[in-house]
């Protein structure tokens, strides 16, 4: 009987201690608002998956201190402005939500930035559009604008490959892709490269037979493809099938830095040049661990957008932690901390993420080439 009483007392004490600890635990609430459906789902779903994994890992590793955690919800902007405006308005009304990671891209992100600035609610959109930053102090971008990234591949085209006449194939219905393509065109033209042709495809297109025949029967000494990885691989296959001279180099931007590109393209994408913030499989301990863990968790290899989501969550988590340390766990505190993040370890580019004084993100790029069915860093 005495033993039973002692046991009950001990249990009650433990329960009281647990309750006390949980009362002191802090929860920092945020929302991952990405395009899980609709035209930009190929970006948004991957970003959301990468971000959610990062948040889970940070919590499991006690990043916010004993008992504290980042609480997140995943929501769908549906690549739709009306849904995005409605969601951000609703989230802004919930005082517990400190920040939104999203919306994903294009006009949807800009519309989201508009309402976020009106409501003084921090959002970090996946897009690389400078318009989002210019919209006001509450809206951030997660990916590097074309001004930062495209010089890597444009300089490589003009200076290393010595191209003189380049055919361009871009995506016509996604603002971020259009911005990258135009910047590439401007930069290579400024270095004396002529544009042999400029063509646009829609993200949902798969029939490139006419375009491939046109390019294969035209004169050019390089082909630049600015599309997502799977679509780009498909384009390369159709270009090869249409008889494109194999000695003509094909280049792409960072979206090609995905295992999907090699998986879908097979032998056809051999020797294709690309630039990547993400090196599939990883290039250091942090990125290699991410690559391994992500594939183990989801069953699919990590690509550039998974890495963007994972890295973005590291940046947000650090901003929240800094806001906590400054005693300003408010939307304003998180916003101010976010804009001053520098040298945050991430799994992309040069391995660290920083915002400059204009809130423009920098994390670097690498020029890669598909060699023997894998990505190899050019020059290493």
């Amino acid at each position: 009987m005495k033993f039973l009483k002692l046991s009950m007392s001990a249990t009650a004490f433990a329960a009281a201690m647990a309750a006390s600890t949980s009362a002191m635990a802090e929860e920092y609430k945020m929302v991952i608002l990405q395009s899980l459906t609709g035209g930009a789902a190929f970006i948004g779903k991957n970003v959301a998956d990468g971000a959610a994994m990062a948040a889970d890992e940070l919590n499991a590793n006690g990043f916010f201190g004993e008992g504290n955690s980042l609480v997140y919800e995943v929501a769908d902007d549906a690549t739709d402005r009306t849904q995005t405006l409605s969601l951000i308005t609703r989230l802004a009304a919930d005082e517990d939500v400190l920040i939104v990671m999203g919306p994903t891209s294009g006009s949807v992100a800009l519309a989201g930035a508009n309402v976020a600035n009106e409501r003084e609610f921090p959002v970090i959109t996946t897009t690389n559009s400078m318009e989002v930053i210019e919209n006001g102090p509450w809206s951030f971008i997660l990916t590097q604008p074309a001004d930062v990234t495209i010089p890597y591949i444009a300089d490589f085209t003009a200076q290393t490959l010595g191209a003189k006449n380049c055919a361009i194939i871009g995506v016509k219905d996604n603002e971020a892709y259009v911005a990258l393509q135009r910047k590439y065109e401007d930069l290579i033209q400024a270095q004396g490269v002529n544009l042999a042709s400029v063509d646009g495809v829609a993200l949902a297109d798969s029939d490139f037979s006419a375009l491939a025949t046109k390019i294969a029967t035209s004169e050019q000494d390089c082909v630049f493809i600015g599309t997502p990885a799977a679509q780009g691989a498909n384009l390369v296959i159709q270009l090869r099938q249409a008889g494109l001279d194999p000695s003509i180099p094909i280049l792409g931007h960072n979206a090609f830095a995905s295992p999907t590109f090699i998986e879908k393209g097979g032998a056809a994408v051999e020797n294709v040049y690309l630039m990547g913030a993400w090196v599939p499989g990883g290039y250091d301990d942090f990125s290699s661990a991410f690559s391994t863990n992500f594939e183990a968790k989801t069953g699919i290899p990590a690509d550039e957008w998974h890495a963007v989501g994972y890295s973005g969550m590291q940046v947000i988590a650090n901003a929240i932690k800094d806001a906590v340390a400054a005693g300003a766990v408010t939307r304003e505190g998180v916003r101010d901390a976010l804009g001053t993040q520098t040298d945050i370890p991430v799994v992309m580019g040069e391995g660290t993420y920083s915002y400059d004084e204009h809130r423009v993100p920098h994390f670097g790029m690498k020029v890669l080439q598909v060699k023997d069915g894998a990505f190899a860093v050019v020059g290493e």
């Binding site: 490139f208 037979s209 799977a230 679509q231």
Partner: protein
């Protein structure tokens, strides 16, 4: 390049024909626009893909996919159309209902594929190219052209020369009169949906093979073009759908090849408006054209 582009356009157009025939058949018989047709097309590609990677021989996978999409189309009829048809004046509610089915199928496909672009494993179909009078044509393109030609001929024979075809035309012309003559209209509807679904499924597989790409939204652009095909060809007109599909395929190729980028859709829809102005019932349609018959 011109002849090569025309060939490319004919191959693409022949697959449009396969897709559009089912769409126009349903419209011809029921006067309903089935917006779930694009999702059925996508489902065909997905089912064949998953069957193939599960180890099923490719030809069996195609056959299974066609049966499965035929069944999906029947379910669409039973779930989305039948009860509305009984009420009469079903055009608009059925349109909304079929959009709902389309969204459900697309969402399922997105979940199943994890939003990834799928492609048949390398070697699923032999990659062989032939050069003939300067034209470069693949074995796959030849097989597609032949398959579509045979299927279209069979469909026309079926509609024109068989008892079922006469029943289809009878129901399309006047359902009540056909019923009085002993035709089971519900059975005709189900068979029509099955054929339309199977053709859409096959079109999905062929497109997936031809362009090495399948994703959950792949039906949307084809759906939009099927509208153009049935309007230009004449609502409910089978020959019209075939001719308009081939025209559309060739025009698409030529605009990509010879005109500034991005004008393709603008030109296709401009053509649609021109046809509507000159021949409001389409190139092969009259005001009462229905799947080979004339609505009374």
């Amino acid at each position: 390049m011109l002849s090569q582009q025309i060939l490319n356009g004919l191959v693409t157009g022949s697959v449009y024909a396969l897709f559009s025939l089912g769409f126009t058949l349903i419209f011809g018989v029921q006067k309903l626009l089935n917006f779930a047709h694009g999702a059925t097309f996508m489902a065909g590609a997905f089912i064949a893909y998953y069957c193939t990677i599960s180890g099923l021989p490719f030809l069996l996978a195609i056959g299974f996919s066609m049966v499965a999409t035929g069944v999906i189309a029947i379910l669409v009829d039973l779930i989305a159309f039948r009860s509305l048809r009984k009420r009469g004046n079903a055009e608009f509610p059925a349109l909304v209902s079929s959009i709902g089915v389309d969204l459900i199928l697309v969402s399922i496909a997105q979940q199943v594929s994890k939003t990834q672009v799928l492609n048949f494993p390398f070697g699923t179909f032999p990659v062989k190219f032939y050069t003939f009078m300067g034209l470069r044509i693949s074995l796959l393109q030849l097989v597609i052209l032949a398959t579509v030609a045979v299927l279209v001929a069979l469909l026309i024979f079926y509609l024109k020369k068989t008892t079922f075809g006469r029943q289809v035309r009878a129901v399309a012309t006047n359902e009540r009169a056909a019923a009085l003559l002993g035709v089971n209209a519900q059975s005709v509807y189900l068979q029509t949906f099955f054929i339309a679904g199977a053709l859409a499924g096959l079109a999905g597989v062929l497109i997936g093979l031809l362009f090495n790409s399948m994703q959950f939204l792949m039906g949307e652009p084809y759906m939009l073009r099927a509208f153009v095909v049935v309007v230009i060809g004449g609502l409910g007109s089978v020959p019209g759908a075939i001719v308009a599909s081939l025209m559309l395929g060739v025009m698409q190729s030529l605009t990509v090849a010879y005109l500034p980028s991005g004008l393709t859709d603008a030109i296709i829809f401009a053509l649609l408006f021109v046809v509507l102005l000159i021949r409001p019932n389409g190139l092969f349609g009259d005001a009462n054209a229905v799947a080979g018959g004339t609505r009374q």
